[in-house]
Amino acid sequence: MLSKRVIPCLDVHDGRTVKGINFVDLIDAGDPVEQAKLYNDLGADEICFLDISATNEGRKTLFNIVSKVAESCFIPLTVGGGIKNNLDINNLLKSGADKVSINSAAVFKPSLIKEASDSFGCQCIVLAIDAYKDQSNYKSGYNVSTHGGKKKTDIDALEWAIEGEKNGAGEILLTSMNADGTKLGYDIELTSKISTEVSIPVIASGGAGKPIDMVNVLKKGNASAVLAASIFHFGIYSIENVKKEMLKYRIPVRNTW
């Protein structure tokens, strides 16, 4: 049976981890390579890097990081943040990324997903959607935002997801901007709305505070995977804690302990 995936996400700024695990046994807590190795050893099913560098120089260090992580972590590696064209994607895949997640750039240039999928295969193209609740939206009730949620658009999130699938995205990384950072649980309504309408896997993101939140969005939101950052970084819960909670509710997991 296919396991539901648990994916820790690392925010990287100019080559350094911004939110990292505060574990004493780490030689360098700001080093994304060390962090990724640790998550790999702790049972992550995939690792996601989100590059929030503001400069091109900062961004270049990412290739180096990805290539070092790929040397020691033999699990899938997704990289997102600031990807604008096929050249960026090619550079990341060559460095050792398995998938790239495309967010704002797809909104400005909807053909990007199709171009990328045609060139590199749908298996490595993740459409990242940052959705927020909009009461004037009578379709799905959620709109798409860009620039890490800073800019709102009037694009309907559900229609955008369906179009993304048509254009060849292999997966959707769905972040609820309303739930993000609250630690009050994932947006189950949003996740379920999108996931039941597309046939590609949906990764739920934003709002994880405790392991039961993961259980809920996997069960009720029909997500294929859960992504989280701070719940793992601050060491409150481990990946093992989450997987054991999932097992209690008979959700298939990859046993890594």
């Binding site: 396991s3 995936r5 790999n40 699990i75 060559k94 398995d98 490595c124 292999g170 590609i200």
Partner: protein, 216 residues
């Protein structure tokens, strides 16, 4: 031991290289791994790996574009019986035909066709396509390749098409995703993995080690 990974301009070959390199540390004899499309290197190699990401038709056309590659591979693998491993699409193109994007002739080293999963999973909303993530293997036929592999071992799959094998004797393992999907196929010295061993953590490295050890 000299392991050669065929570079035909397809996907993330670096991960395959990294995982083989790491696995080779466990062997006492002098070993090396190279990525190349040079026919003389293929002839020198003790073991050949054909990775693959992308579509069946793309992979086949890229392989056929490299002059004499198919003939050289046939000579080394079919005639000389050199150990061969195809990964993901690299395994699928061993088939007679593939139906991704268009009907494309494969290498016909293992009989069967590569068909879209969605045609077999149509009535079930529970099965997302691609089949993406970690899944376990169910053993169909014992093989030394499976030494130390238990029900706890899971492997990373990502594919929308599957190898519909004609003769059951060619199946070593299946994986369950609505239907039985051949996960490890075999014909003499030829093996194929539908999953990505280079992305399957410790379990993946274990099975690569077993494969490298098979004919020693």
């Amino acid at each position: 031991m000299f392991v050669l990974i065929i570079d035909y301009g397809s996907g993330n070959i670096k991960s395959v290289y990294n995982s083989i390199k790491k696995t080779l540390y466990n062997f006492n004899e002098f070993s090396e791994v190279k990525v190349s499309r040079n026919l003389s290197e293929i002839k020198k190699a003790d073991k050949i790996i054909l990775p693959g990401v992308g579509s069946f038709d793309q992979c086949m056309s890229r392989i056929r574009k490299i002059k004499d590659l198919v003939e050289t591979l046939k000579d080394e693998v079919i005639t000389k019986k050199k150990p061969f491993l195809g990964i993901c699409v690299g395994m699928q193109i061993l088939a007679d035909y593939g139906y991704e994007n268009q009907k494309t002739k494969g290498l016909s080293w293992i009989n069967g066709d590569v068909k879209p999963l969605k045609n077999f999973l149509e009535n079930s909303k529970n099965f997302k396509i691609p089949h993406m993530g970690w899944n376990s293997l169910s053993i169909y036929k014992n093989n030394n390749l499976l030494n130390d592999i238990t029900a706890n071992d899971q492997f990373y799959f990502v594919h929308s098409y599957f190898f519909d094998i004609k003769h059951k004797k060619n199946i070593i393992c299946n994986t369950q995703y609505g239907i039985n999907i051949p996960a490890i196929v075999n014909q003499d010295n030829i093996f194929g993995f539908q999953f990505h061993p280079e992305k399957s953590g410790r379990s993946g490295l274990k099975i690569l080690y077993n494969w490298l050890k098979l004919s020693l």
